[in-house]
């Protein structure tokens, strides 16, 4: 029996791998202490025996020896760097990588390659919530409280999240509170709600403003808390005069009395939480939307109180840790800013290089992908733990950019759609074949233990990085535990301080919450109880204004498209679309549309539907359901199609693309 965690989402359910790769839930990890797992978790063992596994490096599609592939890539990287400078080479990471990998990837890029051009797919995931949390609280730790606290609340508002499908065992923590769910669809999660608000896609920000307006007008603001623990309320209050509820109703389609019910329930609750998910965050105004929800939480006096608060529901397995240790364009380990001289000095010291040798901030994920192969853009890309041909917005355009590179290298364990385009593919270990730490949605650092030996011919991402670094004249560790020790030193004194955490402590304590600055420090489950992370200890109200979606509907593209997940699949589906029971549960992409819209478009259930936007088109089978608004269609993004349509308009702060709303035309495919 090996104790480890699920390979998929940010809940990181505890599980054991027994003989014959039998999976069973652990009951000592709070996320799923009830012994829960969803179908993805139960069937995770099949990832390890999947027949489509890559076991040999591929050079232009042909199997080659490891040394040949590594030599080839190192030579090409050197040549491209010589011709185009260090920024001619780019690195793209993922929010599923362990902390050790994310850390090593950032170090490899800055030290071995000297490139500023590194970012990761977490930009498509958590960046808006992270940016808003840093503005408000001075620190971003997705949920700044243990998940088990939720069960004690009276009311939980979830804005744009469908946990019943994305992380089902999460729902067990919500069986006590009254749930208020904001979603344009009546999702599995919305069906569990006491109150479901169903706004027009792209209007969550207006809705949050309208709710705060009502809280103020109905005198529900916790004035004592606002006075004692926050700054900036007056300016926000004035900015809300323009967002009276009747105006918001017209924009969002949410009736005023429903908004009022929601606000009153939150205000009347002894304990309440406001949570945001990708539905609210994946917009060109995602950061401001989260700020508006945080403003509401602050006005009601929730954050930093035991039993109440604001949190964001992180998505990817290591979405939290992945954004803390330096694979992000603007960051160094420990959630440090790369343009902060003290941070550069500290990290350069740990790395044994001069601080001025470290590059500055680079392009954000979509801007990086968009620049590939263009004049002034990178000519080579090393890709780890991501499948942007499926998961990036305007995916056809991204595929063209990837095809225009002089060198595309991927590390994968199956032939993903992006790996299929690569010049070189390294077959790498996965999940149960390696050890490493993951930081889950609570900010709890967890340990995944190696349970089985990898197939012959397969090496770790860490071996690939060290092998390339060696050829470029640098040394990198490959042992996860040694890397973690280095990460501890690099993070010491940073926001996300891991220096007191060890593998032994994680195993003994079932996870440790950061910040944990000393070996004797107990970790910090609830970091804001006494003060927030700004120098004055106060949370900041941030005035924000609603604005329309980057692309609104018009005569040519009259319908909104929103995208999201289904229970049986994870992210781009590269893993889950290869597991038979999951394919059986959700075999194909679909377009969900309202019966009235279907009638108008003469579409019947099961028809093949063509959905087109200004950026491309996708086909999928029609699913007709009154769970969705009449003016909106929904497509899951686990298959090729949905992201050919989505809009790469970026949030000005977080650089998050607008995945959750764009304008489309829908037709029966004849």
């Amino acid at each position: 029996m090996t104790r480890t965690h699920c390979p998929y989402c940010a809940l990181q359910c505890g599980m054991e791998i027994g003989p014959g790769l039998a999976i069973s839930p652990r009951t000592d990890i709070p996320a799923n202490a009830s012994g829960a797992l969803c179908q993805k978790g139960w069937t995770a063992g099949e990832l390890l025996t999947n027949g489509e596994r890559l076991t040999t490096p591929l050079l232009h599609g042909e199997p080659v020896e490891w040394e040949v592939a590594l030599d080839h890539v190192a030579e090409r990287l050197s040549a491209i760097r010589a011709e185009h400078g260090p920024d001619g080479v780019a690195v793209f990471g993922g929010g599923g990588l362990t902390n050790e990998k994310a850390y090593t990837l950032g170090k490899f890029a800055r030290v071995a390659l000297g490139t500023s051009q590194i970012d990761y797919n977490g930009r498509f995931c958590m960046s808006s919530a992270a940016a808003a949390s840093i503005k408000a609280f001075g620190m971003d730790r997705g949920m700044p409280f243990p998940i088990t606290d939720l069960a004690e609340a009276d009311v939980v508002l979830l804005a744009g999240g469908n946990v019943a499908e994305t992380m089902p065992p999460f729902v067990r923590h919500l069986s006590g509170p009254r749930m208020i769910v904001i979603d344009p669809r009546r999702t599995q999660t919305a069906r569990l709600a006491w109150l479901h608000l169903q706004p027009t896609p792209g209007t969550d920000l207006a809705l949050a403003l309208g709710m705060l307006h009502l809280a103020i007008a109905d005198e529900l603001v916790d004035e004592a808390y606002v006075a004692a623990r926050t700054t900036g309320f007056d300016e926000v209050r004035t900015s809300l005069a323009a967002w009276w509820p009747e105006r918001v109703e017209r924009i969002t389609g949410v009736p005023v009395y429903r908004m009022r019910q929601a606000v009153r329930a939150l205000a009347a609750a002894g304990n309440a939480y406001i949570l945001t998910g990708r539905g609210a965050e994946q917009h060109a105004k995602g950061t401001d939307t989260v700020s508006a929800f945080i403003n509401l939480a602050l006005a009601l006096g929730l954050p930093g109180r035991h039993g109440s608060g604001y949190g964001c529901v992180t998505g990817q397995g290591n979405g939290q840790g992945g954004r803390e240790h330096g694979q992000k364009a603007d960051q160094l380990p420990g959630y440090r800013k790369i343009d902060d001289p003290a941070a550069r000095e500290h990290v350069a010291g740990v790395w044994g290089v001069p601080a001025d040798s470290l590059p500055g901030p680079g392009r954000s994920a979509y801007e990086l992908l968009d620049a590939l192969g263009t004049p002034g853009g990178p000519r080579a890309l090393l890709l780890f733990g991501s499948n942007p041909v499926i998961s990036a917005p305007a995916a056809e355009h991204v595929a063209e950019r990837l095809a225009s590179l002089d060198l595309l290298v991927t590390c994968d364990f199956v032939m993903s759609e992006t790996a299929a385009l690569a010049d070189v593919v390294f077959p790498v270990t996965q999940w149960a074949e390696e050890s490493g730490t993951m930081t889950n949605l609570e900010g709890r650092v967890l340990l995944r233990n190696r349970a089985v030996a990898p197939p012959e011919g397969v090496r770790s991402d860490l071996d690939v990085l060290a092998g390339l670094a060696e050829r470029l004249g640098h040394h990198l560790e490959t042992e996860p535990v040694k890397i973690f020790d280095e990460l501890r030193r690099a993070s010491k004194g940073g926001t996300a301080d891991y220096s007191g955490i060890t593998y032994e402590r994680i195993a003994a304590e079932k996870g440790v919450f950061w910040p944990c600055p000393e070996p004797e420090h107990p970790g910090t489950p609830r970091p804001f109880l006494d003060s927030f992370a700004h120098p004055d200890g106060r949370a900041r109200f941030v005035p924000v204004q609603h604005r329309p979606a980057a692309e609104e509907t018009d005569q040519d593209y009259p319908i909104y498209l929103s995208t999201g997940r289904v229970l049986a699949h994870y992210q781009s589906g590269a893993q889950t679309r290869r597991i038979a029971p999951l394919v059986q549960a959700a075999p194909e992409p679909f377009v969900e549309l309202h019966p009235d819209l279907a009638e108008q478009l003469d579409i019947s259930p099961g028809d093949v539907v063509r959905v087109s936007s200004r950026r491309g088109e996708g086909k999928a089978v029609a699913r007709i359901s009154d769970a969705i608004r009449r003016d909106t269609v929904f497509m899951p993004f686990h298959w090729e199609g949905a992201n050919r349509l989505t809009n790469p308009a970026l949030d000005p702060t977080s650089r998050m693309p607008e995945f959750k709303v764009c304008a489309v035309r829908v037709e029966r495919d004849v």
Partner: protein, 464 residues
């Protein structure tokens, strides 16, 4: 370039911030007749009702102007426009040159010319509001003259303060411009239930110290009289300057008057024969005018009107052509007066052209958006009026559920699989869970699985 804006209400203040967002450099001076920071007039009824404090309806902080390099001169109304030399002149004698001028002078309350009317307080500005509140503290009974939107909001607000209120209205039913007869009556009944006595079809003859005397001699008692008899556009200076004025200052699709260097927006402007009295059109106009002023090509094509009453415990939305009858349109109507519910759809050429919704309704958002977008109306009209009506019933009884129905979403387990599992010997939830993993995800299907197992056992006469 020097931009001068006359009027610091909803339209003028909006225009200034819209222009500043688009162009950080243009020189802007704004004149306001009221000495206050701009505030949201829409929220005055909340102030009157006591649910908002006056400082809570401010639209901009006083520091905004300095921070955004806008010169603001409040409390000095513009009296004269000198088009020859391109100057405005204030009552205080200040002359200010302009290259472009925006008139956003709003409207003024109509005060009916009846004896004693000076005893009454019009309900139009924040100052009025404060006067009314002050008087309400001393008053024993109030009379509100005028049963339009504002009068109803005022009456409801005063009643909410615990004051007995009589609402007088000249027309045969309330809000006769927005509502049909029945809706007006249902609204009256709702208000009556909230302590507002409604008198329609009555005309005020004079205002006395002890109340309002009606034509016909009846005295409606009240020591506080509030006037909400409508508004008229402020067009005096524009007319005197020779601009084309009909009911309002006439503007084209760029919001320009017949002098190309002068724009007019908001309640003082008349576009395509319409003077709008609501804030949404004023803000749409402000956005268009700001775009044109800063070199853009936006055009204003008129606004769709949605009237939303803001009065506690009264939910009313009215939009478009609500009074069309079956002769000219398709009309769908539901009335339940005992509950204060009235819903009406007016559909023409497959589009929603008007609607009334009285009483709490989840339909209001959808209908407003259908109306705003001019989108086709679905065939199922009842489903529109009663959201949720068309939802398929959920067959959650084990008997009715088909075998293919998914019981456990998290682990993709159907009723048929549970039955098969039962037939193979599982007799309780734990047994089913062990075999199928049903209930092991989110856990919300536990009751359903229990139900199915219990029903199967019952069928076979097995006690559990």
């Amino acid at each position: 370039m020097r931009l001068v804006v006359v009027g610091n209400g909803m339209a003028g203040s909006r225009l200034v911030s819209e222009v500043r967002t688009r162009d950080p450099h243009i020189r802007i001076t704004i004149f306001g007749a009221e000495s206050r920071q701009p505030y949201n007039r829409v929220l005055l009824s909340n102030v009157l009702a006591g649910s908002s404090r006056p400082e809570q309806v401010r639209l901009l902080e006083s520091s905004w102007y300095d921070a955004h390099h806008v010169e603001a001169a409040f409390g000095d109304a513009v009296a004269h426009i000198d088009r020859e030399t391109r100057h405005v002149v204030t009552e205080g004698g200040r002359r200010e040159p302009y290259d472009l001028l925006v008139l956003a002078m709003g409207s003024e309350a109509i005060v009916p010319p009846i004896p004693g009317v000076e005893r009454a307080i019009p309900f139009r500005t924040l100052d009025d509001c404060e006067r009314i509140m002050e008087a309400a503290d001393q008053a024993r009974r109030a009379v509100v003259v005028g049963g339009g939107l504002l009068g109803i909001e005022a009456a409801r607000g005063l009643a909410g303060r615990g004051l007995p209120v009589t609402l007088l209205h000249l027309a045969g039913h309330l809000m006769e411009r927005q509502l049909d007869v029945e809706a007006g009556e249902v609204l009256g009944e709702t208000l009556a239930g909230l302590g507002v006595e409604i008198r329609t079809g009555v005309s005020a003859e004079s205002v006395r110290e002890d109340g309002v005397l009606l034509a016909g001699g009846e005295l409606i008692e009240g020591d506080l009289v509030v006037l909400a008899c409508g508004v008229r556009p402020v067009t005096g200076p524009a007319a005197a300057a020779g601009l084309e004025v009909r009911r309002g200052i006439v503007v084209d699709d760029e919001l320009r008057t017949d002098d190309p260097s002068i724009f007019a927006i908001g309640e003082c402007a008349e576009h395509e024969g319409t003077v709008y009295g609501l804030v949404a059109p004023a803000w749409e106009q402000a956005a268009v005018a700001a775009d044109v002023i800063t070199g853009g090509k936006a055009l204003y094509r008129g606004s769709r009107l949605v009237t939303r009453l803001k009065a506690r415990s009264v939910e009313l939305a009215a939009m478009g052509e609500t009074q069309l009858t079956e002769e000219h349109a398709e009309v769908v109507r539901f009335s339940h007066r005992a509950r204060g519910t009235y819903r009406k759809l007016v559909i023409r050429d497959g589009r929603l052209v008007g609607a009334i919704l009285l009483g709490e309704s989840d339909a209001v958002g959808t209908l407003t958006q259908l109306f705003d977008r001019g989108a086709p109306v679905p065939g199922d009209r009842a489903g529109l009026l009663f959201p949720g009506l068309s939802s398929a019933p959920v067959a959650d009884s084990p008997t009715l559920m088909p075998d293919a129905a998914k019981v456990c979403q998290c682990n993709n387990v159907t009723k048929g699989q549970i039955r098969a599992c039962w037939e193979a010997g599982a007799r309780d939830v734990a047994g089913v869970a062990a075999a199928t993993r049903a209930t092991t995800g989110c856990g919300t299907c536990r009751d359903a699985v229990e139900g199915i197992v219990g029903w199967l056992c019952e069928q076979e006469g097995i006690s559990v």
